[in-house]
Amino acid sequence: MKRATPWVIATLLVLPALALALKVVVLGYRLSDILPRTVYRVTLTMRLDGHGRDVKVRTYLPASDDRQTITNEEQSAKELRLGFESDGGNRLAVWTGGGVGDGAEARFSYTVMTEPVRYQLDAGLEVPTAYAESIARYLRPDTAIQVDSPEITELAHRLGADRGDVRARLDRIYGFVSAMPQRPFKGTTDALTALRLGEASCNGKSRLVVALARNVGIPARLVGGLILHRGSKRTSHQWVEVYVGGRWVPICPTNHHFAELPASYLVLYRGDQALFRHTADVNFDYRFGITSERVPSPKAKAAFKVWNVWALFDRLQLPFSLLRTILMLPIGALVVVVFRNVIGMPTFGTFLPALIAASAGETGAGWGVIAVLILVAVVFLARWAVHRLELLHSPTLAILLAAVAVTILSTALVADHLGLPRLTRITMFPLAVMAITAERFYLGMTEQGVRTAVKELLGTLVVMLACFAVMSSLALQVLLIGFPEVLLWVVAANIYLGRWVGLRLSEYLRFRAVLTPGAM
């Protein structure tokens, strides 16, 4: 070690620690703010056969409120035109089209970030004798919510829900309906039918809760929405809101949430509505596709004051994932350094694995490896074919770049055709990086032999996976995004490794003749 090195390393270790402490203690940054949140991307796909007639489809779109934030709305449609309407506080999307043929399609996607909520219901809150008109209408009967039916009144009385404070009445109603046997969804069930059958799916149970609550003087309404889980589904969900102490408080008798709602609930509309209405006889079909992603919380974004690259990215409308990749790249490079200089694993080039890992952020690790293998295989074949023409070096490289371009686009086409959306992200792979990787493989193959080249290719893939694992580590991302000064720690680690003269792990094997002459 040079004399100055320990001091430089110590400084680089201490400075970020101080900055971190300053931010946490003085500026009040909280790690919990920076903890990433799950955001969902919901894509509603609707298909219909218009048979050449005029067609109209309407459905509810989620609106942003205290609990849920809706962003990045995108729509596309074939043969249909989208318009928006408002319907008593709900957002309605209406697609219309004239002379619509078969196989018409419309998509609408949006990003959702939700907060879980929990309400404290105070004991001793009496049922008010009168409500404002805007609220009082949630006491009246509806077609499928038979508030005044004697059977409902009788049940409310039998449950004791017509006596005591608001909290006690709701407890009894919720306790009863929540305990009713669950049935899978079989179409719309009104409150009375649910009561008579003694079992129901989400909409029947919810209507029964609404009917009972209204019957005993507590305003209540149905809420329709989605439960956000990754995957594809047709099932929507219904639950209830009751008006207590000036607030609408959620109750889900189906999944047993009383005065609370988990983050997975997305509200689409309020009231006893059908989620979809459309022209008859059009073979209407729909699907909700839901994906999720972890992103830093907006609170952390707001907390940023110094070196505010977040705000810059927002202004430039660059995706946040790009900022994350840029900040994580030095970490990936450190992983490569450890693999090369401490373990001694051969790779193509110094930082190709980290760069490939960064590109694989879009495809995922598995498809990333497959993408690399596809590219290397095709470019290898192209290189072999070109080799027989005995071309000069630079034109050869230019041809390989063209091969990479065509391979990437063709792979994306095939992947799209096969329904492999992650593999289509192979288009995010940097052309030059892949051309260089493949060329290195070919040269290694011809100059150092198959064994060495395959070893380097495997090494590259292993190190790429290691980079991927580290770079996609949530804890590290949180740390770097909240406290980018820790990059100085990475620099310190590199300085240490840069002056480290120890034997690489692989050298214990390579030089075993020197290390254990007795055994040879």
């Binding site: 070096h393 150092q448 050298e507 254990t516």
Partner: protein, 296 residues
């Protein structure tokens, strides 16, 4: 268990004698070889000029082909010549070296491998060198030197080409040396990783004391059965002297000096290397750090 502990003790005992890549780079290359002087080692023509000027014996440069326009001139000059070698100035690992053996007609030569070489092929090879096919750089120069006639010992070790002597010098002091013997298996290349032979040389006695083939100690040539141990190297004191003088002539403190022994011209420096490989330690069976400590 006891065996593992014993093995580890042995490793721990020998570890400090060994120089790994990290230690070589930091303690030998960076400490002794300023980067700005690398071109001397990388560019064989430049190295030969500097060494030649300092009176170190090198193989004479017959022609230099610097740019595509110079190719016709070089072709014309070579048309009536034979027994020469065409090399890229910045090639590595013996790449891009073309041997023009016995002339079999106008503009036709015997290759080292036995096939025939035409002027057209030679022309394309020169162009490839100049366009940088054998170097990491964008362009290169080609040069022509007279083919080496190896000393009988080396000819016997590898009749189809050249064996060279790799002498590692630190501050112009030879610390380790080996003979690199190409084999049929290594495709005529003196590369130890590809099946070439390495013969460790006792610096004081000028005799081989260990031979390694594919990481294994051997006593005989795996192809010709020729005994490899205790061979007396021809012109050994001169080889050391040539290596010392070459090292002293360049501002690089840690060198791999490649020397060949020509039948008539004696030891000639072929090229110098500013970051010589570490496989020589496996050939010797002990580490470079120990060799440096014990060097005469």
């Amino acid at each position: 268990m006891a065996q593992v502990v014993g093995r580890w003790r042995e490793v721990a005992r020998h570890r400090h004698e060994l120089i790994g890549i990290n230690r070589r780079n930091i303690e030998l290359v960076y400490a002794n070889n300023p980067r700005r002087h690398y071109p001397i080692a990388d560019d064989k023509l430049l190295a030969k000029q500097i060494l030649g000027a300092a009176g170190v014996p090198v193989s004479e440069t017959l022609h230099v082909c610097d740019g595509l326009f110079a190719i016709p001139g070089v072709l014309a000059a070579l048309a009536e010549t034979d027994d020469v070698v065409v090399k890229p100035a910045n090639g590595a690992g013996g790449q891009g070296i073309l041997v023009l053996g016995e002339r079999v007609g106008h503009g036709r030569w015997r290759r080292a491998s036995g096939g025939e070489l035409t002027a057209g092929e030679l022309q394309r090879h020169l162009a490839e060198i100049i366009l940088g096919s054998f170097t990491a750089m964008l362009a290169d120069r080609a040069f022509v030197e007279r083919r080496i006639r190896p000393h009988p010992l080396f000819h016997e070790l590898w009749p189809e080409g050249l064996c060279d002597l790799r002498v590692i010098t630190l501050a112009a002091r030879p610390v380790m040396a080996m003979v690199r013997v190409p084999t049929r298996e290594s495709d005529g290349r003196a590369n130890l990783h590809q099946g070439g032979l390495g013969l460790a040389i006792d610096l004081r006695r000028g005799r081989t004391f260990r031979a390694v083939h594919r990481g294994r100690a051997v006593t005989h040539h795996p192809e010709s059965e020729m005994p490899l141990l205790d061979l007396e190297l021809p012109h050994w004191p001169e080889v050391l002297d040539v290596a010392r003088r070459a090292a002293a002539a360049v501002p690089l403190g840690y060198l791999g000096c490649d020397v060949v022994v020509d039948q008539h011209r004696g030891p000639l420096v072929l090229e110098i290397n500013a970051r010589p490989g570490l496989e020589i330690q496996n050939v010797h069976g002990y580490g470079l750090a120990r060799a440096i400590a014990e060097a005469p």
